[in-house]
Amino acid sequence: MQSNANLNRRNFLKMTGLSGTDFILGLYASGNKGTSAVVNMSGLEDTFELTPYIIIEKSGSITIMNPRPEMGQGTFQSLPGIIAEELEVSLDQVTIKQTAGEKQFGRQVAGGSSSVRGNYMNLRKVGASAREMLIKAASDQWKVPIDECYAENGKIFHKPSGKSLSYGELAEAASKLEVPKEPVLKDPKDFKIIGKSAARPDIPLKVSGRAVFGMDVEVPGMVYASVERCPVFGSKLISYDDSKAKKIKGVQQVIKADRVVFGKTKYEGIAVIADNYWAALQGRKALKIQWDYQGFDKFNSNDYEQTLRDLAKTEGLIVHSSGDFDKALAESPLHTEALYETPMVSHSTMEPMNCVAHWKEDNTIEVWVSSQGPTLIKDELFKTLGVAQDNIKVNIMFNGGGFGRRLQSDFASEAASISKAVGKPVKVIWTREDDTQLGPFRPMTFSAMKGAVSNDGMAIAFQHKVISPSLNASRNTNFDKTKPDNSMVEGISDQKYEIPNMKNEYVISDFHIPISAWRSVTSSTLAFAHECFIDELAALAKKDPLEFRLNMLTKDSDTKKVLTKVKEVSGWDKPLPKGWGRGVAQYEFFAGLSAQVVEVSLQTNGSVKVEKVYAVIDLGTVVNPDNVKAQVEGGIVMGLVAATKDGIRFENGKSVQTNFNNNRMLRINEMPQIEVTIIADGGPTIKGVGEPGLPPLAPALCNAIFAATGKRIRRLPVDLNKV
């Protein structure tokens, strides 16, 4: 194996160019901690596989497989850490290798905040099984009872004699043993890794430029491509003139290239192939293309939003009904209604979409890609290009952000088809403008809310009607529109408030723009309407917003727990300085649960400053507390961008926003203080981490703005400079 402690270009090429061999991201146990980003597994000798996740060399080197891509959420530490815990090794002792869609690891997709909660017990069993096999191998060799042996720090010890054997010495014998089906797991009180704020092994790589992202991959003979795709979705190519493009030095070829989204919708493009990226980009700019917009250039966000407002007046499909909502609303003197509106937004990962693909002469494909799922890449290439999964090799690189965008594989199949056409490996790099304008986007949702409170200040009727395009209809042509799309009504019927009369509805609206999951999916917009309207009902009932919520939570629940906790940590009952306001919100959905209190201050120039965010996240069990805090901090910032920045708006058929100058992100000078509290009381169910911190931010912020200014914000984004 080679460490790339002194990675240079030549070595990098040599390593990445070994087709048919494993190419891995890893921390290499070289004694030089944290200095390796690329390790070639082809040089491994005398390796023994105890389970597919654990490979031990005779030399003692240990490799642990990470089955979920690392996109910043910390799986590169958390998942190998769970295995290492039970295996009784420290992460310093192991090489971490990213899985590449191999069947033995099941579906490998990082999404839905599922990596830890979905793998926690299984990966503990993986580590524990290997530990038991190593112990058995040692006891067999020493001919001593198993219970006289124990594992620690990469060795098996014989307690009475003190003698020991390393895992490397035992690996061969252990690998021949049967894998125990129900290994004994460690007592959590003995945990050395789980529950501790361990340093992430990818961080040294990421502060030194050594982490290899998809964007950084080079393979021998590789050419570069930049593709002009029409930003007006639904357009058809009439003709193009590449004569000027071809005159640019370095440009090799200009070809047609298709981008296929969700394996079904084809968008035409013109790819300029060149010796280097800059030449490809210059060539692309020199293209003259005629598009037939087919009328889609008439599409704009203003008109579409009016369509949604009109649809809000129609009756929807029933999503949930309890009690008699209509009667309760009609009979209550204290009732109100409101329409809430949210924007489309872009994912805008800091690493723009890109892929290195090589369609080889034997009709196999190899790709090097930042993706949230090697399984998804294989499935997509099979679906769109007809190459069987077994003939596709995927190399998952560090993802420069995912947020749901890299659950799509359109950029990989496009790169593979270009490679096929040019007969060479190709690196396709999207510009930021491509990345911003071409989607898929988070869809907007509009929410028509109705509710009533009793004379004693309790909510007695509640309706959340969602009006939106459908994620499932966008993805699946055969989606049955006579049924509500569950992904578009996420969480609205699952909040724990004890409201006796409810009727939630869904109204679908057709949409030709590609839309997809975005961090915390539809909860990212629905929580805004849901929890702001709860606040409106609290105001109608003349109750403190937090008390109003707790009054509706008479039974024990995690929701009650997080709200009680956030009340405590935020000092909810303490007075704020003049001109300040605080707001609260919580949201429970498939990924998990968080409650937040936001404090804002009104500035003398009329703007609103976000001062502080208190967040409580409920987990059950926590693997890496510091990383959980980082994820909640990140969710809050992303929620703040979506609530207060530009969003994506269409005019003349295309996104007005093109780059970070007009699709603005939060910057450090706008950063509020964030204080995260984790509830991990060891409960049986583990909740997710990556997404739950996001949905409560927008409603807590807007409720705080109401508290500070008396103004209800019912449409996002809200410009904090002129509330």
Binding site: R9, D202, P352, I668
Partner: protein, 163 residues
């Protein structure tokens, strides 16, 4: 096409490229140093930040022709062993998430601390607001810059102690 002699991380490189090619692509694809990242191409996000004679510049819009004859430093050039005080502080505070923006963040922070060894929050805001982090690590960036400032103070004192 024209030939340029570039000094990057105290090494000399000769490249033959379009004079308008941004320094970013020369560094990445001709010199082969991949630590400097492409983020926006219009000097809005700072992922491509490198130093030109110690000053932070956005290499994605800086033509190679203007870089010739200057001393260029990239993320790979700030330490051999990931032990620059800013890197140490970044590790201690576990700053990066996806990590893609942090080469640029660190280069901006190194330049700030070189000019202002004890920056307050306002100075950090001014120096760092050209660098976007989509993962939202700003709170940790701020803490890490304060920590790096402390570490640099300590290391300076150590040097004096030796003297």
């Amino acid at each position: 096409m024209a030939s340029y002699n570039l000094t990057i991380n105290n090494k000399n490189y000769s490249v033959d490229v379009d004079p308008q090619m941004p320094l970013l692509w020369v560094i990445r694809d001709f010199v082969g140093l991949k630590g400097t990242k492409f983020g926006c191409g219009i000097a809005q996000c700072g992922a491509c930040t490198v130093h030109l004679d110690g000053n932070p510049i956005r290499s994605c819009t800086f033509p190679v022709s203007a870089a010739s004859g200057h001393k260029i430093t990239t993320i790979e050039g700030i330490s051999e062993n990931i032990d620059h005080p800013v890197q140490k502080a970044w590790i201690e505070m576990q700053v990066p998430q996806c990590g893609y923006c942090h080469s640029g963040q660190i280069m901006s922070a190194v330049a700030l601390l070189a000019k202002n060894p004890k920056p307050d929050d306002a100075a950090i805001n001014t120096a760092m607001q050209g660098n976007i982090c989509r993962c939202g690590t700003y709170q940790r960036i701020r803490k890490a810059i304060h920590r790096a400032s402390e570490l640099m103070g300590t290391e300076t004192k150590k040097v004096f102690a030796h003297e």
